[in-house]
């Protein structure tokens, strides 16, 4: 069973290569396009960045993606552009020209990936420096110090946006089978649930930004996989009267506008989840499915009292995210169930949401500690608080002792007391290569202090990136 995609303008029907071959390996060894590089095979360096195009309205929407994490089967129905496919003829594409002219290359190994990220950025119109850094967050360069690359990006974004000829996207297939592997692409929830029920051994794949590491680093394929990518019900973003409802297969990139509008602090966090490459593919359902103790959305979902919809042969039911997460990378999902959607209740009048992620590097880093606070303050008192933390326990967890200690107490000039003690009864964090337990405890407590200042002292600068 073949898949169809368009690679640098040429239609490809691929039936021979394994569905879980990484796109990077495919490009380099099958398509003999060696411009796309491997710098890490873990989605962090961006040397493998390619552009993936999908039909959107009349045109095509290009997104940057990490070829090293993408499975070949994910290319079905897509337009694919690599660094070799930008220029027409012998010349250079404007992105390439400007980068070369800005002295934006030294060793050149990061360059093809940077070219592709800038190509996609340029499609977005005229962004500011923040957008430029966001676009480059998934591309590491060890040589240049980035200044010339950022300058090139500024020049590109200031230039008129080049028009692109419309390209028809290929008709999607229903499955991709080769070399003993089978990847299924259902397009509706009923089929997904039915397939899940008949193949409990199959791996459910959404964006593969977690799962892709198994293929790229552990070099193991997925003999039987079911993709959620095309399931329409799982792709929906709905504004219910009291909640934002996100399908489980909605990507971070797709969700961002709606999330940012409803929950600005959550939107700001999403901009720091992985990179644009990761967010183009990574989904909410995947973050829940992995249920990592440092999954970034999870504390926010807990603070918001979000619910998750689980669909299975017996129908679907809603469950609190707090009940869904059962332990270290463990959830209440039954083998025959899929995550269908998430409900994020809107804040009520007077409520505010604060989300703070601490990591060694601001961009594209896993959280050391993440705190989410949903808080209502009135008349100098803390009326309500839902506080949840990531990185502090085996799972994302509410800080119930802290909540109890603070709710109803005064919330004025004086900083609240007893934070450390309350957190100590809520959490016993571990030491790992990101930070020691002592740091986690201290920083978590200080984030509560930051909350106090954020809500009582609007004049005080609280983040280095606010400068």
């Amino acid at each position: 069973m073949a898949i169809a995609f368009v690679l640098n303008g040429e239609s490809v029907r691929e039936a021979a290569a394994a569905p879980s071959m990484t796109v990077l390996d495919y490009l380099r060894t099958r398509a003999h396009l060696t411009g796309t590089k491997e710098g890490c095979a873990e989605g962090d360096c961006g040397a493998c960045t390619i552009a993936i195009g999908r039909a959107q309205g009349e045109g095509v929407r290009w997104q940057a993606a990490n070829a090293c994490l993408m499975l070949l089967s994910q290319l079905d129905g897509a337009l694919v552009k690599t660094v070799e496919g930008l220029a027409t003829g012998d010349g250079l594409h404007p992105v390439q020209q400007v980068l070369a002219e800005s002295d934006g290359t030294q060793c050149g190994f990061c360059t093809p990936g940077i070219v592709m990220s800038l190509y996609v950025l340029q499609q977005d119109g005229a962004p500011d420096d923040a957008a430029i850094h966001e676009a480059l967050a998934g591309n590491l360069c060890r040589c240049t110090g980035y200044r010339p690359i950022v300058d090139a990006a500024r020049a590109l974004c200031a230039a008129p946006r080049p028009s692109e000829p419309a390209v028809a996207t290929p008709r999607p297939s229903t499955a991709h089978g080769a070399l003993g592997e089978l990847h299924l692409f259902p397009d509706n929830l009923a089929d997904l649930v039915a397939l899940r029920a008949t193949h409990p051994e199959a791996v459910l794949i959404a964006g593969a930004t977690d799962l892709g590491l198994i293929a790229s680093k552990q070099r193991r394929g997925f003999p039987l996989a079911i993709s959620t990518r095309r399931v329409v019900e799982l792709k929906r973003i709905a504004h219910a009267p009291d909640a934002l409802v996100l399908g489980a297969a909605v990507t971070y990139a797709d969700a961002l506008p709606a999330v940012e509008a409803a929950f600005p602090a959550f939107g700001a966090l999403i901009r720091r989840i992985g990179s644009r490459q990761i967010r183009a593919l990574g989904t909410f359902g995947g973050n829940l499915g992995t249920a990592s103790p440092v999954g970034d959305t999870l504390p926010v979902l807990l603070a918001l009292d979000a619910q998750v919809e689980l669909a299975g042969p017996a129908g679907s039911r809603w469950m609190k995210v707090d009940d869904f997460l059962t332990g270290y990378r463990a959830t209440a999902l039954a083998p025959d169930q899929v995550i269908a959607a998430l409900r994020l209740p809107y804040l009520t009048e007077g409520e505010q949401l604060y989300v703070w992620k601490l990591s060694k590097r601001h961009d594209q880093d896993i959280s050391t500690v993440l705190a989410a606070f949903r808080v209502r303050i009135a008349d100098g008192a803390l009326v309500s608080l839902q506080a949840a933390f990531g990185g502090m326990a085996e799972r994302a967890k509410r800080a119930r002792t802290l909540e109890a200690a603070l709710i109803g107490g005064p919330w004025g000039e004086a900083a609240p007391e007893g934070i450390e003690a309350a957190l100590a009864s809520d959490f016993a964090p571990l030491s790992d290569h990101r930070a020691s337990a002592a740091y986690r405890r201290a920083a978590a407590a200080n984030l509560v202090r930051r909350l106090h200042l954020a809500t009582t002292r609007p004049d005080v600068v609280l983040e280095v990136h606010a400068l």
Partner: protein
């Protein structure tokens, strides 16, 4: 025609880079029959290899597997000392130590075969902690000393005396292209190796040793590297040697490319240092004596450590005259990966040491650090003598610092910061400056030589080859500029070709910032030789003496007579004059006695200064660099665009070393930060949003190539200003406690330092 040197010129591969057409080793069309290699790494930090069974791996079709016992020659690739095997021999000495290697028709088959290699180990006690190893007297090489004068007397007599300790961490090179080599067996046991190496000659020697071949039977070639930074000097030899060993046994070409995690686990990094000092000084902060102990964590073998420590000791003076100095370097052995060359090569750690001293002295006296430094700057004789006996003859540090002050207006900048801090209780700003003096030349005098090969063809195009390697630093374009300038032809008439041990033999590594100094000069000498011969021919044609013939604007002229360069080349050929020359250069004036650590190791010094502003979050330890202003001496820059790129890139790399880049090992001695998901190098947002670099255009007083200066490494140390600025921000907090902040200044360390300053030690 416009000038071709001292002007910005793009990297010679820029178009190839951006179009994806630049070929790195892994992109080369694969030779028929190519096998892919994989390494088997030790899981133990220290263990005896009791037995090894390669049979299951070998039983797979098309698989070869090798271990130390399969080495036909000598299993030793030590760059300086001896007894450093390519594959572990009898014992493993760190987690990640390559023990065996396999090659198979596909990469996945190779990895699967590697997993089948069965090794039985007997665990031995391991030294994983630097302090313990120091105390245990574990060393990879004898300790070193640089010094002079009566230090104990000076310390005892000084009006003030303080001692201190500070540590700095290692650093992974994180070149974007991992280590890779392709070995292709030729006729009669010859071996052709394509290696991503900064040191083709050493790779050649390593391969020849391991295979038991004469050097002449091994050719090593490299067109370009996807970054190196010192990490592909000796470390690349290991990969090349193992690839060649596999190819030798397979009788087929073998590609050995390390996945990122294997690369990070198995190959060496920058040395972590523990620094202890004891300083005596007067009321102005002028140092009378300094006792300094630099303990370098060398890892399991010496590798380049003796040279790294020697450079650290020769840079612990930075810009300062210290009358009585005792600088001791300890080459400590631990059961970790062997640390190696990394941009700066010990100098960053040495300079960090002396700057910690300067800062502590300044704070102790309550004086601005700039004044204390200025009081200690090298001056006129006798205050111009370094502890290693070299006179500082080209001192321009005062001028450089003044230039920085003029460009950055430090007083106004400080006022702005004070104003901000006055109303900002949580986010605190700090500002610090950093002067540098960096010695250029390899400490080991012998290495300061280079060869180049220049051919002029009869169409006027020029082929250039030299011993230097291109790792992104722009060496090829710089040397091509020098040659084009010598011939008076456009830059694009000069083609640079891959570095090969078959073209230029017995080369030195492209390292120590010396690439253009050495190879540029060798190429210039070759070009001048040919130019002299062509001038003779053209002069005869024009009827003028050769000296009157001018090469400019693509023409060879005298008075109103003129030939195009290609006509002149053709004429020379017709006259049977050789249009090819080999140039050879050796750096003059230098000598260094390693035993006494005295002499003139450096041909000249290069200078720079930086001022950096940071913001520190006292609740989380987050740090952001807001502004950096840099003045860097480049002599008469051959190519200001390339030099600017070196300055910016080095500064950001130094910033990474001192802030976000943290290597962590687990309790069993395994590197926990084995990839970019856990090891964080700076990203674009970590670069100061206000970043201004000024290249100081002053001819080198020594006769370097067109009076330029080396620039690859020095600016890395300007980033010590980032670390000092963080300390400055912490010092600005109310509190009496000391400033205790090691490097890298991660959020965790910064938060701890804030707590210590405020007197809540340990609380965070």
């Amino acid at each position: 025609m416009s000038r071709v040197v001292h002007v910005p010129a793009r990297h010679e591969s820029a178009s190839a880079h951006v179009s994806g057409r630049a070929l790195y080793l892994d992109d080369m069309p694969e030779p028929p029959g190519l096998l892919h290699g994989a390494l088997v790494l030790s899981p133990h930090p220290h263990a005896r290899i009791v037995s090894m069974d390669l049979s299951a791996a070998r039983a797979l079709p098309g698989v070869v597997a090798v271990a130390a016992g399969d080495v036909p020659g000598v299993n030793d690739i030590a760059p300086i000392r001896s007894g450093e095997p390519a594959l572990a021999q009898g014992v493993v000495e760190y987690v990640g130590h390559p023990v065996a290697a396999v090659a198979a028709p596909t990469l996945d088959e190779a990895r699967a075969a590697a997993a089948l290699v069965k090794i039985e180990y007997e665990k031995l006690p391991a030294l994983l902690d630097l302090d313990e190893a120091i105390a245990a007297g574990a060393r990879v090489a004898p300790d070193q000393m640089v010094g002079r004068g009566d230090v104990d007397g000076a310390l005892a007599d000084a009006p003030h005396r303080i001692a201190g300790e500070v540590r700095c961490g290692g650093q992974d090179h994180f070149y974007l292209e991992g280590q890779i080599a392709i070995a292709v067996p030729g006729e009669d046991r010859d071996m052709q190796v394509y290696s991503s190496t900064q040191h083709p000659t050493e790779a050649q020697h390593g391969v020849a040793h391991v295979l038991g071949l004469p050097f002449a039977a091994v050719t090593v070639e490299v067109r370009r590297m996807g970054g190196a930074f010192g990490g592909k000097e000796s470390q690349a030899t290991i990969i090349a040697a193992i690839a060649a060993l596999l190819a030798h046994h397979a009788r087929k070409p073998v590609k050995l490319r390390l996945p990122r995690d294997v690369d990070m686990e198995a190959t060496g990094k920058r040395h972590p240092f523990r620094i202890r000092w004891d300083a005596g000084f007067d009321g102005e902060g002028r140092l009378a004596g300094l006792d300094l102990e630099l303990a370098a964590d060398c890892g399991n073998v010496a590798d380049l450590s003796p040279a790294v420590v020697s450079r650290a000791l020769c840079h612990a003076d930075n810009c300062y005259f210290i009358p009585a100095a005792r600088y001791r370097g300890l080459l400590v052995k631990t059961n970790t990966v062997s640390n190696t060359a990394f941009r700066g090569f010990g100098a960053p750690q040495g300079m960090l040491a002396i700057e910690a001293v300067m800062e502590t002295v300044a704070r102790h006296l309550g004086r601005p650090i700039e004044e204390v430094r200025a009081a200690n700057f090298y001056g006129d004789a006798p205050r111009n003598l370094t502890p290693y006996g070299q006179e500082v003859e080209d001192n321009i540090i005062a001028e450089v610092v003044a230039h920085l002050d003029g460009a950055a207006d430090l007083a106004a900048w400080r006022r702005d910061i004070a104003t901000f801090n006055a109303t900002s209780p949580i986010i605190r700003k700090g500002l610090a400056t950093m002067p540098i003096k960096f010695g250029v030349s390899f400490n080991l005098t012998t290495l300061n030589q280079a060869g180049a090969l220049v051919h002029v063809y009869t169409d006027g195009s020029v082929h250039l080859n030299h011993g230097g390697t291109e790792m992104g630093q722009g060496l090829f374009v710089k040397v091509a500029q020098v040659v084009a300038d010598a011939f008076g032809i456009p830059l694009d008439h000069v083609r640079v070709s891959a570095t090969s041990t078959a073209k230029v033999p017995n080369t030195s590594p492209t390292a120590a910032s010396s690439g253009s100094d050495l190879n540029g000069m060798a190429a210039l000498i070759a070009a001048r030789e040919i130019r002299g011969r062509m001038a003779g021919v053209a002069g005869a044609r024009f009827g003028v003496p050769a000296e009157e013939v001018v090469f400019a604007d693509g023409r060879v002229s005298a008075g109103n007579q003129s030939l195009s360069f290609s006509e002149a080349a053709r004429l020379a050929w017709q006259e049977r004059v050789q249009l090819s020359a080999a140039g050879f250069y050796r750096t003059p004036k230098i000598h260094f006695d390693l035993a006494t650590a005295q002499g003139r190791p450096f041909y000249y010094y290069t200078y720079g200064a930086a001022a950096t502003e940071v913001a520190v979050d006292t609740l989380t330890g987050d740090v952001r660099v807001l502004r950096a202003e840099i003045v860097q001496d480049c002599g008469r820059s051959l190519n200001p665009a390339i030099d600017l790129g070196q300055v910016e890139g080095a500064f950001v790399q130094g910033l990474g070393w001192l802030t976000c880049e943290e290597l962590k090992w687990d309790a069993a001695g395994r590197l926990a930060t084995r990839g970019p998901s856990t090891y964080k190098i700076p990203g674009s947002r970590d670069v100061p949003p206000d970043f201004r670099v000024h290249l100081l255009d002053r001819p080198n007083r020594e006769e370097t190539v067109l009076r330029s200066k080396a620039v690859g490494e020095p600016p890395l140390m300007l980033a010590i200003s980032v670390w000092l600025a963080i300390r400055d921000a912490i010092a600005g907090l109310a509190g009496e406690g000391p400033i205790r902040l090691d490097a890298p200044a991660t959020p965790e360390r910064v938060l701890e330092a804030v707590a210590v300053r405020r007197g809540h030690a340990g609380a965070g």
